[in-house]
């Protein structure tokens, strides 16, 4: 339970870092650390396959996509940085207060019987479920991936024509 708590606190702190970071690159790195902490939590919750997926895809691939997208944007001038910093402090100071309030409310209204978890156990391993029980999901994944590839091609084709 202590390890769970430490991991959850770490995950929340990394999320806060991603949200409060001034530079976009630091925000993306914060997001990657959040994903890594989440992967460890998943491993603790008896979900190793999902943890490996989270670690490789979300921590690795999505971070790479974000960083490659950020490299296209031009850096801010020192004047813009000063202006943005003032603006950010004004916009983001309520967030820690809001988070503390949400935490306090949730601890106060702690309802033991609030969640009644019905146990409907699906037999089989992950691969059985993925290949046999949830075949439609697999077809959906293939369609989504193809649509994604097609979409990216169309987006960059349009961009190169404009240039």
């Amino acid at each position: 339970m202590i390890i769970d708590l430490i991991l959850l606190i770490l995950m929340t702190l990394f999320t806060m870092w991603a949200v409060m970071a001034k530079s976009l690159l630091k925000a993306v790195i914060g997001l990657a650390f959040t994903s890594a902490a989440l992967a460890i939590v998943m491993f603790k919750l008896n979900s190793p396959f999902a943890a490996v997926f989270e670690l490789s895809v979300c921590t690795g691939l999505i971070t790479a996509v974000f960083i490659s997208a950020i490299t296209f944007a031009k850096p801010l001038t020192s004047e813009e940085i000063n202006e943005t910093t003032r603006d950010r402090i004004k916009r983001y100071w309520p967030l820690p207060v809001l988070m503390i309030a949400v935490m306090a409310v949730l601890f106060i209204i702690r309802l033991p019987g609030f969640f009644r978890v019905a146990s409907v156990v699906t037999p089989g391993e992950v691969r059985d479920i993925l290949w046999n029980t949830r075949q439609l999901d697999l077809i959906g994944q293939v369609v989504v991936l193809l649509a994604g590839v097609f979409g990216v091609i169309m987006l960059f084709k349009g961009a190169s024509k404009d240039e």
Binding site: D4, L31, V152
Partner: protein, 106 residues
């Protein structure tokens, strides 16, 4: 459910709620399109953890893992496409600020 499980569930629920609040606030307050996408990713992390948590509590980890794998694949495609759209917007407007995108307005 035993009291130990309820304690575990409630601790996780509190932190998931915190991450959800942070992601939602980020999406609502920021004007940078790339940061909106990061906010969406943060929301996805909270939802993924919630799915995994209930799989663990109900003894259905295998099923929820299969669902989470599908969610992650969809997440990657959404991020790739949205990043492409944001880059195209940046090329056209020379800015990532949502206030300056008025091409479709009115």
């Amino acid at each position: 459910m035993s009291s130990a499980l309820i304690n575990l569930l409630w601790t996780y629920i509190v932190f998931i709620a915190l991450v959800l609040v942070a992601g939602l606030y980020y999406m609502l307050v920021t004007r940078n399109l790339m940061r909106v996408l990061i906010g969406m990713e943060i929301l996805m992390k909270a939802v993924t953890l919630l799915i995994i948590l209930f799989g663990y509590l109900t003894g259905n980890s295998e099923f929820t893992q299969a669902v989470v794998i599908v969610v992650i694949v969809i997440e990657v495609v959404v991020v790739a496409i949205t990043a492409g759209v944001i880059l195209n917007i940046f090329r056209k407007n020379d800015s990532l600020d949502a206030r300056e995108i008025r091409n479709l307005k009115g």
